[in-house]
C-alpha cells in the first residue's frame, strides 16, 4: 500500500480526523509529531519506543529503548520491531495491553503517522531526511505497515525527483463560512444567543482568518463581552434587543480584528486598568498605554546613541554634512539645496526606494560622528536653557562619550540596533536601527532633543 500524504491549511482538522478514524476503527498506530520530536534522533527513538512499548521513567534513567541516530540503524531496528509486533498481531489478536495497539479484528496492519512534516524541512540535512522518510515503505517492503504523512504544505514543497513513488495526496480543504458556523454552534448552551452573535462576528472575521483555533480564541472572549452587553444572558433575543446589543457590541469588533494578544494585569491592578480603559476607549495592544512617555529606564547617553542610530538609519549618508553642520548651516543649506536638486520625479522615485528599503545600514564611525554632533548640540542648548545645571559641564561631553561601545552593545541586546555579522576586530560591522519613529520621538522628547530638525524628509 502506498503511503498517504494528508495536507491542508492550519487547523482544518487533519490530525484530529485521522486520529478519530483510527480510534473508531480501532487500528494500531504509531503517532509521532515532528514538533515534539524536534530532531531526527528523537523522532527515531520516539517511534521505536512506541513500537517496543517502552516508557521513559526514573527506573530506566529516562533513557530510550534503543539508541538510534543513523537512518540505517533506524531501518534495522524498525524492521525488527515491526516484525515482532506484526507477529503478535497475527498470533493473538486482541490481547495486547496498551490502547494504541489494541485488538485486531480487521487485518493485521500497523500504521506509522508522521505529523507536522513541514517542520522537517528546517532540520539539518533535511534534503536527505525527507526522501528517506518518503521511501521508507519501499525500503522496509512490508505489506503490513502503512505510512501516513500529515503536513501543512502541499506535496509540491517536498518532491524533488529523488526516485521514490509519490505518496497518494489527500487534501483537506478550508472551511467555508457555513462550516464554521456549524462548528461553532456545537456545544453551545444558548443556541439562539450564540447564533445571533455569530451572525455579527463571523462575517468580518471570516475575511481575516479561517482557522478554527484562532477564531475560537477570539470568539470566546468576544462572546463574553457580547453577553455583558445584554442585560440578561438567558434573555430570548428579539429583533429590538438584538439591535441594541449590536450597537453596544460593535465598537469591540474592529480592535479585536487587529489584536493578536491581549495583555491583562493582575487583579490588584485591574481597577487602574479599567479606568484607563474607560479613558482611552478600547485597550488595544500597543495602544494607549504607550502613548506619552518612555516607560522604561535608559541612560541618557544610551538615548542619544539610540537617536543617532535612528538618524543614521533614516537619513542618507550624503546629507550628514548639511544636517549636522556645527555652524548652524542647516537651514541655509536646505534652502539652497532644494531648488538645485534634480527633478522632482527623480526625487520621488528615490524616496519611494528609501521607503521600500527600510532603515539603512551604517558603519560604526558614522554612528559615532552623529552621536558626537548631537550630544555637543544638546549640551549647548542645555546650558542655555537651564541655569541650574548643578555640575560644571566642561567635561560632560567626554563623560557622555566615555563608554559608548558598551551602550551600543546593550542597545543591540535590547533589539533596538541590529548588528550585521563580521569580524569585531576589523570594525567594519554595519549596524541598522530597528526603532520605529514613534519610539524615537518618545525618546527624543524625554531628553528634549529636537529630533524632527535632524530628520530628512523628501
Amino acid at each position: 500500500m502506498l503511503p498517504l500524504f494528508v495536507y491542508g491549511g492550519m487547523s482544518v482538522g487533519k490530525t484530529s480526523v485521522i486520529l478519530q478514524i483510527f480510534r473508531h476503527l480501532n487500528r494500531p498506530f504509531v503517532y509521532s509529531s515532528c514538533r515534539t520530536c524536534y530532531s531526527l534522533r528523537t523522532l527515531f527513538e520516539c517511534i521505536l519506543n512506541q513500537l517496543l512499548l517502552h516508557q521513559k521513567d526514573a527506573d530506566n534513567g529516562y533513557l530510550s529503548a534503543k539508541r538510534c541516530e543513523k537512518p540505517s540503524d533506524f531501518v534495522n531496528f524498525l524492521r525488527e520491531a515491526l516484525v515482532k509486533v506484526v507477529k503478535t498481531l497475527q498470533g493473538n489478536p486482541g490481547k495486547l495491553g496498551t490502547k494504541k495497539l489494541t485488538g485486531q479484528e480487521h487485518g493485521h496492519m500497523i500504521y506509522l503517522i508522521f505529523d507536522n512534516l513541514e517542520l522537517v524541512r528546517d532540520w539539518d540535512k533535511s534534503s536527505s531526511i525527507l526522501p528517506f522518510l518518503f521511501n521508507l515503505h519501499e525500503v522496509l517492503n512490508m505489506n503490513e505497515v502503512g505510512f501516513l504523512f500529515i503536513s501543512n504544505t502541499s506535496p509540491d514543497a517536498y518532491y524533488s525527483n529523488m526516485g521514490y513513488l509519490e505518496p497518494i495526496p489527500v487534501y483537506f480543504s478550508e472551511y467555508t463560512e457555513d462550516d464554521l458556523r456549524k462548528i461553532f454552534m456545537r456545544n453551545q448552551t444558548n443556541q439562539e444567543m450564540y447564533s445571533s452573535f455569530l451572525s455579527v462576528v463571523l462575517g468580518p472575521f471570516y475575511r481575516i482568518t479561517r482557522q478554527v483555533n484562532e477564531l475560537s480564541l477570539t470568539f470566546s472572549s468576544l462572546y463574553k463581552t457580547y453577553c455583558e452587553a445584554s442585560d440578561d444572558l438567558n434573555n430570548v433575543p428579539n429583533e429590538s434587543s438584538k439591535r441594541t446589543r449590536f450597537s453596544h457590541f460593535q465598537p469591540h469588533i474592529a480592535p479585536a480584528l487587529n489584536q493578536i494578544f491581549k495583555i491583562s494585569s493582575p487583579l490588584s491592578e485591574v481597577n487602574n486598568l479599567k479606568e484607563a480603559k474607560r479613558k482611552g476607549g478600547s485597550m488595544k495592544f500597543s495602544g494607549c498605554d504607550s502613548s506619552e512617555h518612555l516607560d522604561f529606564h535608559m541612560s541618557t547617553s544610551a538615548k542619544y546613541l539610540l537617536l543617532s542610530a535612528f538618524l543614521a538609519s533614516r537619513n542618507p549618508a550624503t546629507l550628514d554634512a548639511s544636517l549636522f553642520d556645527s555652524t548652524g548651516g542647516t537651514s541655509s543649506r536646505k534652502k539652497r539645496k532644494r531648488p538645485s536638486e534634480k527633478s522632482i520625479e527623480q526625487k520621488e522615485i528615490s524616496e519611494q526606494e528609501l521607503l521600500m528599503k527600510g532603515p539603512g545600514t551604517f558603519p560604526l564611525e558614522r554612528l559615532l560622528a552623529i552621536f558626537q554632533c548631537i550630544t555637543s548640540v544638546a549640551e549647548i542648548s542645555l546650558e542655555d536653557e537651564q541655569g541650574n545645571v548643578l555640575m560644571e559641564s566642561q567635561n560632560e561631553d567626554s563623560e557622555l562619550m566615555s563608554d559608548v561601545l558598551l551602550q551600543l552593545s546593550s542597545l543591540c541586546n535590547a533589539n533596538f540596533v541590529v548588528k550585521g555579522g563580521s569580524c569585531p576586530l576589523e570594525g567594519s560591522t554595519r549596524y541598522r536601527s530597528t526603532v520605529s519613529e514613534d519610539m524615537a520621538l518618545k525618546v527624543a522628547r524625554s531628553i528634549k532633543f529636537p529630533l524632527s530638525k535632524y530628520m530628512y524628509r523628501r
Binding site: 521513567d57 541650574n388 557622555l400
Partner: protein
Amino acid sequence: MAPSAAPVVESPLQSTVENIETNFQPFYVLHKASSRKNSRKSNLCGKSRKRTKLSPTGPNGIENPDAEERDGSQLEHLRMEALELVWSKMETTIKDVLRDTNVKVFDDICRWVFESFAAIRSYGTPSSSSATRPFPTFTRAEYKILFTGLVLTKNMEVVDDLLTFEELGFHLKSHGCHVASLSSQELSAKSSIGGCIRSLLRQLLKVTVDAADMFILASWYREQGYYENPVVVIVEDIERCCGPVLSDFIIMLSEWVVKIPIILIMGVATTIDAPANVLRSNALQQLCPCKFVLGSPAERMEAVVEAVLLRHCCMFSIGHKVAVFLRKYFLNQDGTLTSFIRAMKIACVQHFTTEPLSFMLARLLLEEENMGFQDGNDASFLEVLSKHASDLLSDSRYPLAEGTGNNLGNILSELKRWRKSWSVVVLCLYQVGKFSKVQLLDLLCEALDPQLLKPITSENSSRLQQEKGTSFSSSYELQYQFSSRKDGYIYQVIRKVRDLPAELLHQLLMSWEKITHCVPEIHENVKDLLLAFKLGNGKSSGKDIADLSRRHASRNGLFVKSSKPMMEKAESFLNSLVSEHMRPVECIPFHELICFKDVRKLQLALIGDPRRRIQVDLLEFQKIVKCTCCSENRNSLLPCAHDSTIMYRLAQEHGDLINLHDWFQSFKRVVSHPQAKGNHRTKQCPTPKKRKDKPSVESKSDASIQARFCTAVSELQITGLLRMPSKRRPDYVQRVAFGL
C-alpha cells in the same frame, strides 16, 4: 659617546624585562590585593595578640621612624577590619532593601501562578496514563493556551534583574512550584529547542539526558505527584532570545500544556510590545499574557540611597562632588543599581585605604551596636583605637585639631550628632519632595553642597563676617547658615509645602514625627506643629482626624481658610530646619573621618577610560618601565623600549593612513641602530660605532625584526589603535585613535 652607548643599550634591555615583570601595574595591583586579603584574614584571628604587642608603642608619642612604620601596618589592618565591618553592613542593608521592594510583586506573581494553575486544572486533567502518550489529546483551543506572566523590568540593562529573577525563582519554589529558568543563551539559535529542553530537564529532573524530549518531562511530572504543583518556566530576557527558537518552544509547550501545566514567566526589559516584535504570530496566539511591573530603577535607587546614605547607622558618607558624580553617572552612563553599588564599594575601599583615621568608623559602629555595655575585649579594642587616633589627630592633616583639643570622644559624638540631625533634615525634605516628584539624589546633591553654607548677612557686611568666620573657627557653626539656592530643589520643596492640601499635610506631619524621633530638639518642634494642626482642625470641625479628607471635600472653603496658617507654619519650620541644622558634611570639622571626597579616584576606578590609558601608557612608557636610559632622554626613541611603544611613537608622525613599508623601515632603523634617529653624534664618529655594533646588528636578522614588527602591529590592532589593511589598500593600515 658611542662606546659608552653600547653597554647602556645592553643593560636596560635586561632591566626593562625585569621592570615589566615587577612593575606591570594592573597585574601587580591584583596580586597585591589578594595577598592583603589573606593577611587580613590571618590578622583577624591573631587580633588580640597584635593588639597587646602594639599597645606599648601607641603611648610613646615620640616619633621614632621604625615604630611608626610598624604602626602604619598595624593601622592598615585596623582600617581593613573597619572596611569589612562597614561594607558588610552596607551590603546587607542594600540586599534587604532590594528584597523589600520586590516582595509585593513577587507575591502578586505567586498568586497569579496558582490562579492560572487552578484554571488549567479546571479544564479537566487528563488521566495520568494518557499524559505520556505521544499523540495530542483533543480539547478546545482555549485549553491549549499558555499562561504567561510578562514581568516588566523597566530597565534596558538587564544586570540588575538577573538577581531579581533568581529571587523570584526561590520565592516560587518556596511556595511549591517546580521552577526552571532559561537564559538567553539557551534560547539562542545555536542551541535550539534541544538545548532548551535539555536545560529544563537538567534543572527540574537534575539529570542530563542525551536525547532530551518532552516525554521525559511528562513522565517525570507524573512521578512527582500528578497535577499537584505547577511547572514554572522563567525566561529572563525576552529581547535577547532568538525569536524563532522561542516561538517554536512556545508552540511546543502549548501542545503539552494539557498534560504538563506549564506556566511561563518572561522578563521584558523594554516596552510591552517586545514579545510582539520577537515572537511569531502563531506563537503569540498561544499566550495568555498578564503584566507585572517591577519597581523602576530610579525608585530602587532612591530606596537604596535612602537606606545607605541617610538611614544607615554606619556613618559613612560621601562628599558633594562624589554625590554629583554618582548622580550623573547613574543618569547618563549606566542606569543600573549594580554599578551604583559597585561605586559605593569602591568609594568605601578608597576611603579606608587612604584615610588614616578612617578606622574610627569601626568604633562608631561598635558603640552604636552595644550601646552602653561593653565587654572587656571591645573596650580594650576601643582604647587602642582612641590612642592611635589621638596620635594621628596631632598630625598636621587636620588643621582644626588644635582648636578643639584632642578629645576624640567629643569629636566623635559631635560627628554623630551632626549626622543624625542632617539625615533627619534631608529625610524631612524628601518626604515633601515625594509629593512633587523630586528625586532623592537631586536633593542629596544639593544638601551636600558646601558652597551653600553661607555666612549670615546681618547689618555687618558679608566680607567682615567672613573674616570673623575664619578667625574664630571654633564658633564657626553659629555664624553660618545654609541658604538654599533660589532655583534649587530644596527651595522648590520648601515652597511646595505651602500648596499642600490639609490631608497631605497631616500625612506629612505624621511622617516627620516618625523620622525626627532620634533628634529630640527637632522632634519637639514637630510635635508642637502637629498639636497646632490638630487644634486648628478641632476648632473648625470636630476632633476626629481620621475623616479629615471627607470634611475637606464637604466644607472646602472653610477648611482652606483654617489650614492656611498651618501651611505657613510648616513652611517656616522647614525653613528654620534647613537653615539651622543643614550642615553639608564638608563644612563639619573632622569630616575627613567619615566622608569620602576624592571624586577623581572614584572616576578612575569606575570608568577607567581604557583606550586613553593604553595610549598614555604607550607614549609615556618610561613612567612604568623605570629604566634610566629612557627617562633621561625622553624625546629620542631607544631600541630598548618595547616594540609596540616604538611603533606607536612612530605612528604618531603619520596621518590617518600609515604606509606599512615606511613604518617598517623606520622601525627597523630604530631597532637596529641605537641612536641613529635624531642624534647627529653618530655621524661624527661612524667607525667605532660600526665596529662595536656590527655583531649585534647581524644577529638581529631581517626576519626577526619583521616578526617583531608584525607582533607589534597586531598588538596595536588588538588594543584598538589600528585597523588592518583593507583589500582596497593592502599596503596601508589605518589609525583609529587620535589624540588623547
